[in-house]
Amino acid sequence: MSIPPPMGLIAELTHRCPLQCAYCSNPLQMDAPKSELSTADWLRVLDEAAAIGVLQVHFSGGEPMARRDLPQLVGHANKAGLYTNIITSGVLLTDEAMATLLDAGIDHIQLSFQDSTAEGGDRIGGYRGGHAKKLEAARRIREAGLPLTANFVIHRQNIERVEDMIALGETLGAERMEIAHTQYYGWALLNRNALLPSRDQLDFVNGVVDAARRRLQGRIAIDYVVPDYYAARPKACMGGWGNRFINISPSGKALPCHAAETLPGFTFASVRDWTLAEIWTGSDAFARFRGTDWMPETCRSCDRREIDWGGCRCQALAIAGDAALTDPACYRSPDHHLMDEAIAAAADHSALDLVPRRLQQAAHD
C-alpha cells in the first residue's frame, strides 16, 4: 500500500510561553529550552516537508513568537512554497514583529483569546495586561491586510460569555472564528473537573453558535465542534493517525499528534536522526495506528471507520486505559459510559481551582 503524502506540518517551536492557561494542550512534561531544535535543524525540516508534499506549515508552541528565528523560518517556508500559519497568543506581536513577519511572507495568523473580557482572560492566562495586548495584536494583523482567525477556548468558567466572544471577533474584523471547546489532554485533562461544561451550558452554547452561524453566513465562518464528552461519535483525530499531519516537538521528535508522547511503548524518531520522508513512510510510530488494520472489531465492522479513523488514540488511553481501543467518545464503544461518568464527576466538583501550566515545575518533576 502506498502512503499518501502528508498535508500539514505542525512545528511546535518551543514549549516556552508567557501564558499559563490551565487547559494547555502541551504535555505535562515539557521540553526544556536547551533541548530545542536549532534554526538550521528547522530550516532543513521545512525543506524536507515541502519535498514530501506538505502544503501548510503551522508554527505553534508554546508561544512560537518566543523564538527569535520565527521570521526566518516563515520566510524559508514561504520560499519553499509552503502556506505559513502562526498559532499565537499575540502578546509578543508588536508593530515591529508584525512588520518583520509580513516581510517574511506570512499567510495567516490564528490569535487565541481566553475570554471576552480582560478580567477573565488575564486570570486564565495568568498574565496581567495580556488581553489588551491581544486586542492590539488583532488590530495589527488586520492593518497588515492579513486574514485573522480569532480562537476562543471555552470551558465552564467562561462559557456564559460566548455571545460576547463572537461579538468581539466581529468587532476585531476576524474572517474566521473558532469557538473551541477545551480538548481534554495534557493540562486540561489534569484540570478537567474544573473545566468541563455541564449539559445545560453545552445546550446554551450550541444555540448561540447556531444563531451566529446563520447571521454571519458568507461573512465570517465559525468552526465549532461539540466536545468529545458529549459527542455520540468520535472526532477523526488529526484526520487519521499518520494520514495528514506530522507534529514536530520542540526537541525534534516527530509525532503523529501533539499528545502522542503520553502513549506508552513508543519510540518517536527525532528529525535530528531521520529525514521526514523516512519517518513518514518507514517509522513504526507513524505506522502503528495508520489505516484500519490495527482497529478493534468495534471499529473494523463500522462503516464510518474511514471517516472517524477510530477517533483519538490518546483519549482511548486516557479514559479507557488502552490506546488500541475504540475512542470512548463513540457511542459504540463498550467504554462510552466512562464519558458520562466524567461529566457527572465534574458536575459534583464545585471547586474551580486550576493548576496553571508551568514549564519549570513540569521540567523538575
Binding site: P5, M7, G8, A51, I52, G53, L55, Q56, H58, G81, Y83, N85, D107, H108, Q110, G145, L146, P147, T149, E175, R176, Q217, G218, A221, D223
Partner: protein, 90 residues
C-alpha cells in the same frame, strides 16, 4: 445568493496553486485545504477578482461541450460552496 454579475475573488489568505508532488491543483486557505475536482479547477483558474460569473460561464461554455445552463449551475454551486467555507468572496 450569487448571480451572473457577481465577481468572485479569493478571500485574503487564500492561495490556489499547482502542487508538483501530487500533480494536482490545491486551494490553500487559513487552517483549511481543499483539493478541488477537475471541474472546480477549471472554474477556479478563471477566478481573478475581475471576471463576473457570467464571463466565467461564457469562457467555459466556449471550451467545453456542455449546455450553458448546466455549466452555469455548476459554476454557481461550486463558488457558493467555497463561499460558505470561507475561501471565496462573491
Amino acid at each position: 445568493m450569487a448571480d451572473g454579475s457577481s465577481v468572485p475573488a479569493f478571500r485574503r489568505g487564500v492561495k490556489f496553486r499547482f502542487d508538483t508532488v501530487r500533480g494536482a491543483w490545491v486551494l490553500l486557505a487559513p487552517e483549511k485545504l481543499f483539493m478541488p475536482d477537475e471541474i472546480a479547477v477549471e472554474i477556479l483558474k478563471l477566478v481573478d477578482g475581475a471576471r463576473t460569473i457570467d464571463a466565467i460561464v461564457e469562457d467555459l461554455a466556449a471550451r467545453f461541450d456542455a449546455p450553458r445552463d448546466e455549466i452555469a449551475a455548476d459554476v454557481v454551486a461550486a463558488l457558493e460552496d467555497l463561499s460558505t467555507r470561507g475561501a471565496v468572496a462573491l
